[in-house]
Symmetry: C2
Subunit: 109 residues, 2 copies
């Protein structure tokens, strides 16, 4: 045990959960905030901004890259990161759609 039983759920359910998991860590939220704030590429000052070790941040960046939310481009001796606008809007859309349905009103429980 310990491993999520993905086969029990629909593709959509696994997808939404995976997307949520990708942003389910404050460091990754902070990274995305930085990238949004800069509104452009950011070349590695992330290690200075957040207080985590270089290896840890690299790991978070990897996760964000794996789901496609960010891209990295080699820029001389350092690397530039930026948000992928298409994947970003896909995320926006999925969460908007998920929360779109309004739950039944107070009259239930």
């Amino acid at each position: 045990m310990g491993a999520t039983k993905k086969e029990l759920f629909t593709k959509k359910q696994n997808e939404i959960a995976a997307m949520a998991k990708a942003i389910a860590h404050p460091a990754r939220i902070a990274i995305l905030h930085e990238l949004l704030k800069a509104n452009a590429c950011i070349c590695g000052d992330l290690v200075d901004e957040l207080g985590l070790a270089q290896a840890t941040i690299s790991q978070h960046l990897k996760e964000l890259k794996n789901v496609g939310l960010i891209r990295g481009t080699i820029e001389g001796t350092s690397i530039c990161y930026c948000i992928d606008p298409l994947v970003w809007s896909a995320y926006k859309e999925v969460f908007a759609h998920f929360f779109k349905e309004a739950p039944a009103s107070q009259n239930c429980c």
Copy 2:
């Protein structure tokens, strides 16, 4: 190590991450889907619907209750669950706001 260093991040960042984590499992997405579909309370047939053990589902329900997304009311020998509309819209709002900012266009990386 192994524990998230929450003190490094803003309250908002920790909040968004925590909200994402709450729905970062397909079983919890499936539970919310069921509650939305029923558009009312559901009395415990969740164990039959999802293929997980009763203890496991109870644990997922507990997490959803902890963040306030669902409520449970005792109904005779069983318990009725439903989505809390206010917390639900709070979630909708937070994610909508987070993804609202448009990242810089393709011209970057």
